[in-house]
Symmetry: C2
Subunit: 446 residues, 2 copies
């Protein structure tokens, strides 16, 4: 049974609400928007990610016969209602910020316009997909800003929250600017470049560390990166130097070494010296172990001679901010704008657009959130991407998304680019939106 493509990846209440809409004969057009309510310390901006997987989910949405049989067996749903589920497809429109766009609180990054049952039903999985990818891309982008000229590779699959989390983290970190991943399936699914070295177990399984290096090199002559911290890092670096001529005689070049423990800057400096003195000036040093944007910034500030970093758990779990305060909220039904006013969770009603105002050099100055159709200065960020359930253009390539992230990061205000905490980017609510909110509150017959 497939997990990630099952229509049962949803909350029970979506189905009970659909049965309610059906029973009440409610089938008008609803408009929902996905946005983040507020940012927490450690995130001054976010990177919109997950749009292409969401569009694929919407295009493929359907219940299988055995899923419907199982639902019938729960006794919760009428046969008549289940017949409507059998023909449920997503036939609506989607507007969105392109993947890779920088965004801020209260700015919708995706809007669904569809018959209410469709727009309601897709909520859970749509949030599930957008949330995790935006979360990881935003964390990974911080690492890219902290170490812009180094090789960054996602190593996080083992502690990602499940298989799909690992695969999506590989995608999200790659589009944010990482150079690749160790997750093989992400290479297959998305064409992301794969990287890998060796584990301590390979060294330990050999009685002799040098022999382990030699076995590994001869089996992978094109990608010889040797892990040197299993016992004594500097001693192992000397063994690498001693081994190099023997491998060179067999036409094998040592591409580099990896350090995974201890004071990475200090070890890297010593190892660099040993390699350079031993004629391995071309060999790169790769480092890993508990890395995130703060550790990277510290290592670079200390001028650690590290060429590339394996970044794992802390990015793949977004460990300092492991979730976003995101929501997918009804903004309009049957042509009438809606909002909820729950304490601390009130939303802005209506179909929205976000305008971004930049200075002459293209650097972001401020955003304005307003209603669709209320033209404001600046660049509108939300565009139509799906109509009547069909994409308006082929899926964006990861290369194109990566280029957008690069461009967006280059245009960040200086305090955000410097990962300065506590600095808030100005997002204004336009008068037209304020006016609609008041009008909705006045006219509410609740």
């Amino acid at each position: 049974m497939r997990i990630e493509s099952s229509a049962l990846v949803t909350d029970l209440y979506q189905l009970t609400m659909l049965q309610g809409y059906h029973a009440a004969g409610m089938a008008d057009t609803a408009v929902f928007e996905f946005f983040v309510r507020r940012l927490r310390p450690g995130r001054g901006f976010l990177i919109a990610a997950g749009l292409e997987p969401v569009l694929a989910f919407l295009e493929d949405l359907h219940f299988t016969a055995d899923e419907l049989d199982w639902l019938a067996g729960t006794g919760r749903f009428s046969g008549e209602f289940l017949a409507t589920l059998a023909s449920l497809r997503f036939t609506g429109d989607v507007h969105a910020m392109p993947e890779g766009t920088v965004f801020f609180p209260n700015e919708p990054i995706l809007r669904v316009t569809a018959p209410i049952s469709e727009a309601q039903f897709v909520e859970t999985r749509l949030m599930n997909l957008l949330h995790v990818q935006t979360l990881i891309a935003s964390k990974a982008a911080r690492c890219v800003l902290a170490a812009p000229d180094r090789l960054l590779v996602d190593f996080g699959l083992r502690r990602a929250h499940g298989a799909e989390a690992g695969v999506l983290a590989a995608r999200a970190s790659y589009l944010a600017g990482f150079s690749g991943t160790s997750t093989v399936l992400a290479g297959r699914l998305f064409g992301i470049p794969l990287f890998g070295t060796m584990a301590h177990s390979f060294v330990e399984a050999h009685a002799d560390e040098t022999l382990a290096f030699e076995h590994f090199a001869r089996a992978q002559p094109g990608n010889v990166v040797l892990l040197i911290d299993t016992y004594d890092t500097e001693a192992a670096a000397h063994k690498v130097v001693a081994l190099a001529p023997r491998l060179a005689a067999a036409g094998i070049r040592i591409k580099g070494v990896r350090i995974d423990s201890g004071d990475l800057a200090e070890h890297a400096r010593r190892v660099r010296g040993i390699l350079d003195a031993g004629g391995l000036g071309d060999a790169i040093i790769f480092a890993s172990g508990d890395l995130d944007e703060y550790a990277l910034r510290d290592l670079l500030a200390r001028h650690a001679p590290v060429d590339g970093f394996g970044v794992g758990t802390r990015v793949d779990t977004s460990s300092d901010v492991p979730y976003l305060d995101c929501a997918y909220k009804l903004q309009e039904y049957a042509g009438r704008a809606r909002r909820k006013r729950s304490e601390g969770k009130a939303t802005w009603p209506g179909r929205k657009q976000v305008y971004r105002i930049a200075d002459d050099a293209g650097r972001m100055l401020r955003d304005v959130v307003t209603l669709e159709g209320d033209r404001q200065p600046g660049e509108p960020l939300i565009e139509p991407v799906m109509r009547n359930g069909r994409r308006l253009r082929p899926p964006a390539t990861l290369d194109a998304i990566r280029a957008r992230v690069r461009d967006n990061l280059a245009r960040l205000p200086a305090p955000l680019a410097a990962l300065q905490d506590g600095w808030e980017y100005p997002v204004q609510i336009a008068p037209a939106l304020e006016a609609l909110a008041s009008e909705v509150d006045r006219s509410s017959a609740v």
Copy 2:
């Protein structure tokens, strides 16, 4: 293409190491153990979870023809090596603590004994499965300890890290003692009881809140739990009271209400008063919104009249501790004990057993980690569960695992049961294990 059951859910280096072992003719038996190195603040104990899914993964392990074709196309692997992958199955033994067992740092919860290629290859997915389920079960158990006599329901799918994360979080929180989940697929896959109410959008889509309640009740007469905080919580509670007689005339009973925002204790108290005064003394109050063990403890300490809680994001992401410092390490190869000595990451060598010493009432006093065969006082926690790639008994039922968790939680030392931070359970390393570690270090030819 299936994600969660693909053999490509692995790190590239597993495959490159396997090619190395193959080229070097290394095929002896390896022993790996999975354990957690240390606990972070907010976790005084952990609940072992994920064993049954790991055993299912091991039983099913294989590469499909198209996966092998794709690997061949990468140009990284020899045809001869890929032929060995085509026949790769898991033929080894597994020893483990049963799912639902409380455990502590340095205590292996799972041991794999198999030809080195098999034992090595399974590392990534085995860690990926054990880590997330142990992580979530441990967080959920804390909620159960904080609110032992209340209904707790997992609502976290939308902000879980992907679809599999949500499904596994439903399983992990249920085995830890939750009463059910909103995740429909978890109901289908694991038979977990499903719960659900309604969303704000259902209320907002109606011009009138009372009409929304009535539509929902008539469509779901057996499960009428009404969400009352969309606009004004107490006003909505009065509407529920006013609606009740009309529904009762149709034979429909209002089971309860849900509050999702504001000061939950204060609202619950006022709503309880309104419901009781309105003849709805039987209606339950269900609360949700940013809940975790601390919020639950606070609400109960304030005597909030809440019967059940929807617990979502903070449990499904284990938000205060979003990952465990876990490892899967080689302990023995070809009959010789191994360890790594990397700074801050040294491991204990050999095949281990954990003994748990309890007082006369069964309350846990201390654990001893030692070598298999070194009999210690107390109860041994690790048992054989798979031999030659086949389970030794049918999968444990979730009911049985839930019973084990209940029993284990009841036997926790008082400071751990009270979620007291900074109190450390005593875990001793037996002399036999210390002696082996010294011997391994002395005899290492590295």
